[in-house]
């Protein structure tokens, strides 16, 4: 597998917010997604832009059995 290294020349942090908000043009979005394939730093920045570390942890902790619960509820309703 190709090593994933940061390519600083292509990093455009301002675009990360636009990506999250769905405000990039289709072309810019494709270019950014390609860049994310190669840049761990931008992937990390994207995570940080989406939510705080505490919120990521909260999602991991609180939603653990959510899909199972929804399936069970649907099964009970049938």
């Amino acid at each position: 597998m190709k090593p994933r290294t940061s390519n600083a020349s292509k990093c455009q942090p301002d675009q990360l917010q636009d990506l999250l908000n769905g405000q990039l043009t289709s072309r810019d979005e494709q270019l950014l997604l390609v860049h994310l394939n190669e840049c761990d730093n931008c992937c990390r920045r994207l995570d940080e832009s989406a939510a705080t570390p505490e919120s990521w942890n909260a999602a991991h902790t609180f939603l653990r059995d959510l899909d199972w619960e929804i399936s069970r509820r649907r099964h009970e309703q049938q």
């Binding site: 597998m1 994933r4 990506l19 999250l20 908000n21 769905g22 950014l32 997604l33 390609v34 860049h35 994310l36 394939n37 190669e38 992937c43 994207l46 995570d47 832009s49 989406a50 939510a51 919120s55 990521w56 909260a58 999602a59 991991h60 902790t61 609180f62 939603l63 653990r64 959510l66 899909d67 619960e69 929804i70």
Partner: protein, 198 residues
Amino acid sequence: MANMPDTRDSLIVQVQNPANREAWEQFTAIYRPVIYRLARTRGMQDADADDLAQQVLLAVGRAIPDWQSNKQQSRFRHWLHRITKNAILNALTRTPKDPAVGGSGFMNLIHGVSKPDNIELQLELEYRRQVYRQAAEIVRNAVQEQTWRVFMMTIIEGQSTESVARQMSTTIGNVHAIRSRVMRRLQIAVKDIQEADE
């Protein structure tokens, strides 16, 4: 959890203002599972925990006319949260010899607060958990199934983005974008629910 439509209907009838009725519906959707889980973590059996949730909500529902007759009304949501917190703390800290909820016991349940140990913290935790779960259901229904699957595989199952990209026949960059967008939507939904409750 078992549905109890008769009791729910009787509670709704007491909330006459449509705006407050909506607040009550949202409120019970959050608090019923909160009370249930709190009771379960304190060793109650499934049916008993369900019953306790019902008792607390009944107690709160029966107090609604008090709020409606109060000239200096605080906001309905604020009032609901305050008295429910008291009712939960009391219900869970009562000794087994205490009388069952009913009659004048309802008012004691609502207005007095026993000394909590760590129940208050547990209550906050369970409340937060339920807010996240409600928010997640909103987001889950709004995104494509594959999008939700990517989010769950990376966040809940803890799979690497590389592994998820392989399994879902997509790129690592796309996996990062998908899960971050879902997370952003989840944060907005959490905020909306919390603001509606404040």
